[in-house]
C-alpha cells in the first residue's frame, strides 16, 4: 500500500488523570436536557396518589364513586386492584395497600386528564379508617406486647445479620481499656432536586415500557414484575436524564407500579410525579440505627476487639435500608486491624417511613461510631490519635476477619498525608490546651477515617457489566453499556477511556446506556462500583476493537501490529509517532475490501470478587479503599453552632481517571456528609413527618461549604482500570465523625446522635458545665 503521509508526527499523550468535561454538561447548562420530569407523551394522563396521612390503621371502607364520576378521570384504583401483587425484598409491600402501616402508605390512585383534575379526584375519595396503636421506635417494636405491623412477621422482626470472629470474652480480659457507647444515627433523606417520577405505557401485546429514574435497570425489571403480575422480560426500562439519585432509585417504590397499573387500566401512558412535600414524605430515607458499640485496646494502644449490637428501625416495609448490616459489619471488622469481632443486627418493623439505600450505605452510620471510638480510645491510652491510628493501620496484603483482602492498602499514607497537610497533631494539642481558657468561640480539629468497598460488592449473583462497542466508517465510536449515568459522570469516564485506547477525539464517542432493550446487563450504579466495573468493561471492549483495527492495519500497511498505535485519529508507528493512515480511512478500507469486516465487539466483565454468602466471609469486592478526613471547626459555645472552617482529605483513589469528575464527586459527597453531620434531620412525631420542606429540612448551602484541601493517593489497584478504585461513597462516610472528634477537641463534649445541631451541642456543653459544678 502506498500511503503518502506528510503529516507531522503525533506524540503519545495520555488522558488518564486529565480534566475531561462531562459530555452531558452543555445541554444541561443551556436548559435543553429533557429530564423525565419534563417529558410529555401524546395521550398522557397524570397519575396522583392518595396517601394515608396516618401511621397505623385498618381501612374500614373506601368510596371512590364521586372521584370516578368527575369528568376527566379515567381510572381510580385501590388496594383491591393490587391484591396479591406483593413486591419488595421480603415481599411485604404492595403498590396500593390493604392496611395502613406508615404515613405515606398509598391507599388509592387516580389517572386523569390533568394534574388539577387528578388532585380534585383524590380529594373526592372517602376513606374510613380505624386507627391502630402504633410502634415508633425499634425498642418499642421489639416488646412482646407491641402491636403487630405485618401478620406474617411475628414480633415485628424483619432481617437479622450476624458475624463473629474470635472470643470476645478472652479479648476483653486482655484489654486495658474498653469504650462502650450507644450511637443513634437518624433519619435523613436524599433530597434529589428532581422529584420522583415514572411514566408507564403498555403496548398492544401487554409489554410495559417504563420511563424511570432507576439506577439499576436490569434487576429493576425483576423487582417490578411481581408488583404487576408481569414477567420481567415483558418490561422495557428507559432511563431519561434524572435530577439526582444517590441510592434512592436502587429499588422499586410504589409510585412506579402505580403508574403502570394506571396505564394498564386506561390503555394510555400515565405519568406520576411527586411534589416536594410528597417527595419528603414518600421517598426512602437513610437507615436509622441504634448502635451499641464496644471497642477495646491494650495499654500500648493495640486494638483487641470490637462488638456492635445494632437495632435497626426497619420502618413499615423492607427495602434496601435493613440490608445495610452487610456493609456495617465490614467496617466493624475491617476499620483498622481488629482481631476479634462480634456483630449482630436486628431490624424491627415500625410505623415510621422506611429506608432505602443512600450513598454510604450503612457505612455512614457505622463509621460515625467506629471513628469516634478510635478517638476516645486514643484519649484513654493517652496516645496522640494519629499515632494510635497508625499503630492499628492495616498494610497491603492484609486480610480482615471477614476475608476482605486489602491488596493495595495505603491507609498509612492517607493518615500521614491528611494529618501532615492540616498540621493536625500540633493544632489538636493547641486547641485542647485552650479548651479551659475563657472565650465564647473554641477551635477544634478532628481526624476520622474509614474503609469501603472500591471494586463493586458482590451481593447479587453477578457484579458484572456487558459492553458493546462499534466503530463506524467515520471513526465515530458508539459504546452501548449497562452503566447508568445519573449525573455522577460515568459518561465522561467512558468517553475518556475510549479516547485513550482508540486515539479518537472525546467528542467522537457516543454512549447509549438508557434502554434495557438495547444495552446489556449491569447490576447498577451503587457500591462505588461504576468507574471500576464499567471502566474495566469499556477498556476491555476498546482494546478488542483496537486489536482488530491494528491487525487490519498490519495487513494493509505491511508493518507488524505490535509496532503500531492509534493516536490523534490515525494509525501511527508507536516508536516515533509517524502517522501512516487516517483511522476513518482505514475503517472504510476494512469495510469495503474483498473480505469486508466491521469493527463491532462485545465484552462481559465480571470482577474477581467472591459472592457475599450467608456467612459473610468472602472477599466480596475486587478492591477496598480508605479515606482520612481532618475537619477544622469553630464552635460557638453559647449557641452551640459549629462552623466548619476547613476540610483536609486524603483518599486512596487507586488512580485518577478524570480528575475533574473525581474532584466533583468528592466535593459533592462531602456536602451530603456535612448536611448529615450538622443540619439534616427528618423530624418524626409518632410516624408523621413534621418538616417536609426545604425551609425546615436544612440542606447545606453555598456559604456553608468550607474550603477543601483534597489529596488523592494513588495505590495503583491491579484489578482496577488503569489502577483506579471506586471513590464516591467515602467522602460522605467519613466527614461526620471527623467533625464530632473536632467538637470534642474544641469543647470536650460528644454528641452521639447526629445531627450535631446547635441545640444538641449547646445542651451538651451546658450539661458538661453543670457536671463540673459551674
Amino acid at each position: 500500500m502506498d500511503q503518502k503521509v506528510t503529516a507531522p508526527t503525533i506524540e503519545k499523550k495520555t488522558l488518564i488523570g486529565q480534566r475531561v468535561k462531562k459530555p452531558d454538561a452543555p445541554d444541561k447548562a443551556i436548559g435543553k436536557t429533557r429530564y423525565i420530569n419534563d417529558m410529555v407523551l401524546p395521550q398522557m394522563l397524570i397519575g396522583k396518589v392518595l396517601f394515608a396521612g396516618r401511621p397505623h390503621a385498618r381501612i374500614v371502607s373506601i368510596d371512590t364513586a364521586a372521584a370516578e364520576r368527575l369528568p376527566g378521570v379515567h381510572a381510580v384504583l385501590t388496594g383491591k386492584d393490587a391484591a396479591g401483587l406483593r413486591f419488595g425484598f421480603v415481599r411485604d409491600n404492595a403498590a396500593l395497600k390493604d392496611k395502613v402501616r406508615c404515613e405515606h402508605d398509598e391507599i388509592a390512585a387516580v389517572a386523569a386528564e390533568s394534574e388539577e383534575i387528578a388532585r380534585q379526584a383524590i380529594g373526592l375519595i372517602e376513606v374510613v379508617y380505624e386507627d391502630l396503636p402504633g410502634v415508633f421506635t425499634p425498642e418499642d417494636g421489639a416488646r412482646e406486647d407491641a402491636p403487630q405491623i405485618h401478620d406474617n412477621f411475628p414480633g415485628n422482626k424483619s432481617l437479622y445479620f450476624e458475624f463473629s470472629h474470635g472470643e470476645v470474652a478472652a479479648a476483653e480480659a486482655d484489654s486495658d481499656f474498653v469504650v462502650d457507647n450507644v450511637f443513634r444515627p437518624h433519619h435523613v433523606t436524599h433530597c434529589c432536586m428532581g422529584t420522583s417520577c415514572a411514566i408507564a405505557d403498555f403496548d398492544h401485546n401487554g409489554k410495559l415500557t417504563i420511563w424511570t429514574q432507576t439506577q439499576y435497570p436490569y434487576n429493576y425489571k425483576m423487582d417490578l414484575a411481581p408488583a404487576l403480575g408481569l414477567q420481567p422480560g415483558d418490561i422495557r426500562v428507559i432511563q431519561p436524564p434524572v435530577g439526582g439519585a444517590f441510592g434512592s432509585k436502587l429499588d422499586v417504590y410504589p409510585y412506579e407500579p402505580i403508574a403502570a397499573l394506571l396505564a394498564k387500566r386506561t390503555g394510555r401512558p400515565v405519568k406520576v410525579i411527586y411534589s416536594r412535600e410528597e417527595e419528603f414524605k414518600a421517598s426512602p430515607t437513610r437507615q436509622p440505627a441504634i448502635i451499641h458499640m464496644r471497642t477495646g485496646c491494650t495499654r500500648d494502644g493495640t486494638l483487641t476487639f470490637r462488638t456492635a449490637d445494632v437495632l435497626l428501625d426497619n420502618g413499615a416495609y423492607t427495602s434496601w435500608g435493613p440490608t445495610i448490616p452487610v456493609i456495617m459489619m465490614r467496617t466493624v471488622s475491617g476499620h483498622y486491624r481488629v482481631p476479634v469481632v462480634d456483630f449482630k443486627a436486628q431490624a424491627i418493623y415500625t410505623n415510621n417511613p422506611y429506608a432505602g439505600s443512600f450513598r454510604g450505605y450503612g457505612n455512614v452510620q457505622t463509621t460515625w461510631a467506629t471513628a469516634q471510638q478510635m478517638d476516645m480510645l486514643a484519649d484513654m491510652v493517652d496516645m496522640e490519635p494519629l499515632a494510635f491510628h497508625l499503630k492499628n493501620s492495616q498494610v497491603s496484603g492484609e486480610i480482615t476477619p471477614q476475608k476482605s483482602f486489602l491488596r493495595e492498602c495505603v491507609l498509612v499514607e492517607c493518615l500521614e498525608t491528611a494529618a501532615g497537610a492540616s498540621d493536625y497533631s500540633r493544632k489538636r494539642k493547641e486547641y485542647a490546651a485552650a479548651r479551659a481558657e475563657p472565650g465564647r468561640y473554641k477551635k477544634g480539629i478532628g481526624l476520622a477515617s474509614s474503609i469501603h468497598n472500591a471494586g463493586g460488592a458482590k451481593i447479587h449473583k453477578s457484579d458484572g457489566i456487558g459492553t458493546i462497542l462499534k466503530v463506524d466508517d467515520y471513526a465515530r465510536v458508539t459504546v452501548i453499556t449497562g452503566a447508568s449515568e445519573i449525573g455522577q459522570g460515568i459518561d465522561a469516564v467512558i468517553t475518556l477511556i475510549v479516547a485513550e485506547e482508540l486515539g479518537v477525539p472525546l467528542e467522537h464517542v457516543l454512549i447509549v446506556n438508557n434502554d434495557s432493550d438495547i444495552a446489556p446487563w449491569d447490576v447498577g450504579v451503587h457500591a462505588s462500583r461504576t468507574t471500576f466495573i464499567a471502566g474495566n468493561g469499556t477498556r476491555r471492549a476498546a482494546r478488542k476493537a483496537k486489536a482488530q483495527i491494528l491487525a487490519a492495519a498490519e495487513k494493509m500497511l505491511g508493518e507488524p501490529a505490535d509496532t503500531l498505535e492509534l493516536r490523534g485519529g490515525s494509525v501511527v508507528r508507536d516508536a516515533c509517532g509517524t502517522p501512516l493512515i487516517k483511522l476513518d480511512r482505514l475503517l472504510r478500507q476494512m469495510h469495503f475490501q474483498a473480505e469486508p469486516e466491521l469493527v463491532m465487539v462485545t465484552d462481559y466483565y465480571e470482577p474477581k470478587s467472591e459472592p457475599e454468602g450467608a456467612k459473610h466471609v468472602s472477599d466480596h469486592s475486587a478492591a477496598y479503599s480508605h479515606a482520612v478526613h481532618v475537619a477544622e471547626i469553630t464552635v460557638d459555645t453559647l449557641t452551640g453552632e459549629i462552623t466548619v472552617d476547613k476540610i483536609t482529605m486524603a483518599q486512596d483513589v487507586g488512580r485518577v481517571i478524570n480528575r475533574m469528575g473525581l474532584e466533583a464527586q468528592i466535593e459533592g459527597g462531602l456536602a451530603i456528609g456535612l448536611g448529615y453531620a450538622l443540619s439534616e434531620n427528618m423530624l418524626l412525631d409518632r410516624g408523621l413527618l413534621k418538616n417536609p420542606c426545604f425551609r425546615d429540612y436544612k440542606l447545606l448551602t453555598a456559604p456553608e461549604m468550607p474550603p477543601l484541601d483534597l489529596h488523592f493517593i494513588e495505590s495503583d489497584c491491579a484489578e482496577g482500570p488503569y489502577g483506579a478504585k471506586g471513590i464516591s461513597e467515602l467522602p460522605t462516610i467519613v466527614i461526620a465523625p471527623a467533625i464530632a472528634n473536632a467538637l470534642y477537641n474544641a469543647t470536650g463534649v460528644r454528641v452521639f446522635d447526629p445531627p450535631m445541631s446547635p441545640e444538641k451541642v449547646a445542651r451538651a456543653i451546658d450539661a458538661q458545665r453543670q457536671a463540673a459544678g459551674g
Binding site: A25, K28, A29, K32, T195, G243, Q488, M660, A664, T701
Partner: protein
C-alpha cells in the same frame, strides 16, 4: 372554573402574547404553556432556586410569581442566555469547570450566577457564596459552582 386573562411580555428577546389562568404561576406557564422546560420545579415554595428566571434584569423564583405579573415585563430563562454564537460566558464556565452533575438545579443556578456576575463585575468568591445561598444543589457541594463563577467573572471582564 379558572378565570383567564391575556398578557403580553418579552420572553428571551421575543414578544409573547398568551392567555393564562389568573392563579397560574410563572413557572407553570413557562413549562406547561410555553414549553420552556429548562426552568425547573423542585420545591414550589421559593426555597430551592431551581426555577430562578430574570425579570426586568433581576432574578426571582418563578414558582412564587403569578404569570399575570409577567405582563409588560422582560423575562429571560435559561434558554435565553445563549446566543447563536454559543453559550454565554457563565454557561461556558459552568461546563468547563465541572460544575454540572445531574444538572437539575443548574438552570436556576446559572441564571443566578449570570445575574450576580453581570451585576458586579468585581464579584468575589465570598460574595458569590452569599449570592447563591438561595440555590440548592445536592450533587456538587458548590465548590465547582464557585470555581465557575470566578471564571465567569474573569471571562466577562475580558469581554469574552
Amino acid at each position: 372554573m379558572s378565570l383567564e386573562t391575556e398578557i403580553n411580555f418579552t420572553l428571551n428577546g421575543r414578544p409573547v402574547t398568551v392567555r393564562v389562568p389568573v392563579a397560574m404561576k410563572t413557572l407553570t406557564m413557562l413549562r406547561e404553556v410555553l414549553g420552556l422546560t429548562g426552568t425547573k420545579y423542585a420545591c414550589g415554595e421559593g426555597e430551592c432556586g431551581a426555577c430562578t428566571v430574570k425579570v426586568d434584569g433581576r432574578t426571582l423564583n418563578s414558582c412564587l410569581m403569578h404569570a399575570v405579573d409577567c405582563d409588560g415585563r422582560e423575562l429571560v430563562t435559561i434558554e435565553g442566555l445563549k446566543s447563536p454564537a454559543g453559550m454565554n460566558p457563565t454557561q461556558k464556565a459552568f461546563v468547563d469547570h465541572g460544575a454540572v452533575q445531574c444538572g437539575f438545579c443548574m438552570p436556576g443556578m446559572i441564571i443566578q450566577a449570570d445575574y450576580l456576575t453581570d451585576d458586579d463585575p468585581q464579584l468575589t468568591r465570598e460574595q458569590a457564596q452569599r449570592g447563591l445561598e438561595g440555590n440548592l444543589c445536592r450533587c456538587t457541594g458548590y465548590t465547582k459552582v464557585l470555581d465557575a463563577v470566578e471564571a465567569a467573572v474573569e471571562a466577562k471582564r475580558c469581554g469574552r
